[in-house]
């Protein structure tokens, strides 16, 4: 990890998000899905930013319009610390990757769509209504999208849990970014539908507020089967079945 300045090269609307591009080769080349940087955006604590798209010398983030990164302008320099944390680990043998996210949490999973050729990737994408759903036209055509809305205005009417069992049977790796309150139910379904879950078959992003980001302050505890771990150094991606 390093602390360095990153040049903001582009800021533009992208669906319900604002896309900001950071040119910072020393960090971008070592970022990955689920890893993060801490950005000095003027708040007392640095703001964690998860890449939504990765290039060798830059990365994009997608943030809501009210997020402090959405107020950045092209040409400004932002002080970053990173890359930090342990990201998603897709096994080399995996060929069928299932992504599970609500629209608000989707950006952190998007770099997984950049996986090498030969992967089949399905996305279980949830929102309360069609207007809140991430525009599917902005996603790669090869991605198999299963949309779920609570009111049925787009895709399946109901909850992601309705479609999750069949997709979990199909997948050989599941990566999840959602409200952690949904994780126990997803873990229960994984146990039900998979006889052999395997280590890290299902991985979930847990991102509590971070103070230091390097394991010094002990402030980002996450309870797992083996005790307490830190989101910043042990995570923020954890085995779904180990989360408590």
């Amino acid at each position: 990890m390093i602390q360095t300045g990153a040049l903001v090269t582009d800021v533009a609307l992208s669906g319900p998000f604002v896309r900001a591009t950071f040119a910072v080769p020393a960090i971008a080349s070592r970022l990955a899905a689920g890893r993060f940087v801490l950005a000095d955006l003027g708040e007392y604590l640095r703001t964690p930013l998860f890449p939504a798209w990765l290039e060798t010398a830059s990365f994009d983030v997608l943030v809501p319009p009210h997020h402090p990164a959405a107020a950045l302008h092209s040409g400004t320099t932002v002080d970053l610390i990173g890359p930090l944390g342990q990201g998603f680990e897709v096994p080399a043998a995996a060929r069928r990757l299932l992504l599970v996210a609500s629209t608000a949490h989707l950006p952190a999973l998007l770099p997984l769509i950049q996986q090498k050729p030969g992967f089949s990737v399905a996305l279980l994408l949830a929102a309360s209504t069609a207007a809140d759903l991430y525009p599917i036209r902005l996603l790669p055509p090869a991605l198999e999208v299963h949309a779920v809305t609570a009111d049925g205005s787009a895709g399946h009417r109901g909850a992601p849990l309705d479609l999750f069992p069949d997709l979990a049977r199909w997948a050989d790796c599941v990566c999840i970014a959602d409200d952690p309150a949904t994780y126990p139910a997803l873990a229960e379904l994984v146990r039900e539908v998979r006889m052999e879950q395997g280590r890290r078959f299902a991985q979930a992003l847990v991102a509590p507020p971070l103070a230091c980001g390097v394991g010094a302050c002990q402030g980002c505890a996450v309870e797992v089967a083996r005790g307490t771990q830190l989101a910043c150094t042990d995570g923020p991606v954890f085995d779904l079945l180990e989360l408590r």
Binding site: Q3, Y44, L45, C212, Q218, G219
Partner: protein, 275 residues
């Protein structure tokens, strides 16, 4: 920059090349900031807090951002002194600056046991003993005396902010070589996502006037080296403490936002301008 001795009456002394160090609870155990903080530019590092037995720490949530700062409640999460020594003593021995270990002095027995376990660790240049926020002068005296009796290294006592002036004389009489003024104050915040109140330590620039007031008061009462701590975010902030009577300063929450800033503060303090 002028060197400072924080323990002039102790047989080993505690000489720092400059007066800047990170505060306990902010820097980790010595390895976490190795790539981000220019340690050789500092006067010392303070690692811990450590307790005699390992502690899992508080249940989440531990961190609650508040306007202009943050509330942190870790519950003293640490591997315990023995494990910390096994894991980190070699790192401490390689440190280019003195390593001060913060021991949570929750009781006289805990303080004595903690200091005893660090007695033979050559890499530990001094012990900073944290007092309970609820300690009265008698309790503070008992804890410090228990630590002083067994400690080989110089003993710095970190005082609770609210009671710094009430406890400082007892701490010195019981054997403290220097005082840190002060531990971060405690507060309570509402954590909406879990619907719970969280009580913990407060970090932010708003702590500075409180800590500065406490330090000035303590400086009037006791003639030992003082370490100013609380809300320091710049060399200007640090100078305010030095002018108030501090011999050295500790940077707390500002370290998290700008790790590189710690060395910058040390450089900016040299040479110390006069007001």
């Amino acid at each position: 920059m002028t060197a400072v001795d924080l323990a002039p009456d102790h047989k080993t002394g505690l000489t720092l090349a400059n007066p800047v160090m990170p505060a306990a609870g902010c820097f980790g155990f010595g390895t976490q900031y190795a790539r981000l903080v220019e340690v050789e530019a500092l006067g010392a590092v303070v690692v811990g807090p450590l307790t005699v037995r390992p502690r899992q720490g508080a249940e989440p949530p531990r961190t609650v951002p508040i306007p202009g700062g943050v509330l942190l409640h870790t519950g003293l999460a640490n591997p315990g002194i023995a494990a910390a020594v096994r894991r980190y003593a070699r790192t401490w021995a390689r440190s280019p600056v003195p390593v001060i270990v913060h021991v949570a002095g929750t009781s006289p027995a805990e303080a004595a046991s903690g200091c005893q376990r660090l007695w033979s660790v050559e890499a530990v240049a001094a012990i900073e003993l944290g007092l309970p926020d609820t300690a009265d002068p008698d309790e503070a005296s008992a804890i410090v005396q228990a630590a002083h009796t067994v400690a080989r290294q110089p003993l710095i006592v970190r005082l609770p902010l609210a009671w710094a002036d009430a406890l400082c004389e007892a701490a010195i009489e019981a054997g403290a070589d220097a005082l840190t003024v002060a531990a971060p104050p405690r507060g309570t915040a509402w954590h909406a996502p879990t619907g719970r109140f969280v009580t913990g330590r407060l970090y932010g620039p708003f702590v500075l006037p409180l800590a500065l007031r406490a330090l000035r008061r303590v400086a009037e009462l006791v003639p030992v080296p003082l370490i100013g701590c609380g809300g320091i975010h710049s060399a200007e902030d640090a100078r305010a403490f030095l002018h108030a009577g501090a011999a050295a300063i500790q940077v707390d929450g500002a370290l998290w936002r700008d790790p590189a800033g710690l060395a910058r503060i040390a450089r900016d303090l040299s040479p110390t301008p006069s007001f």
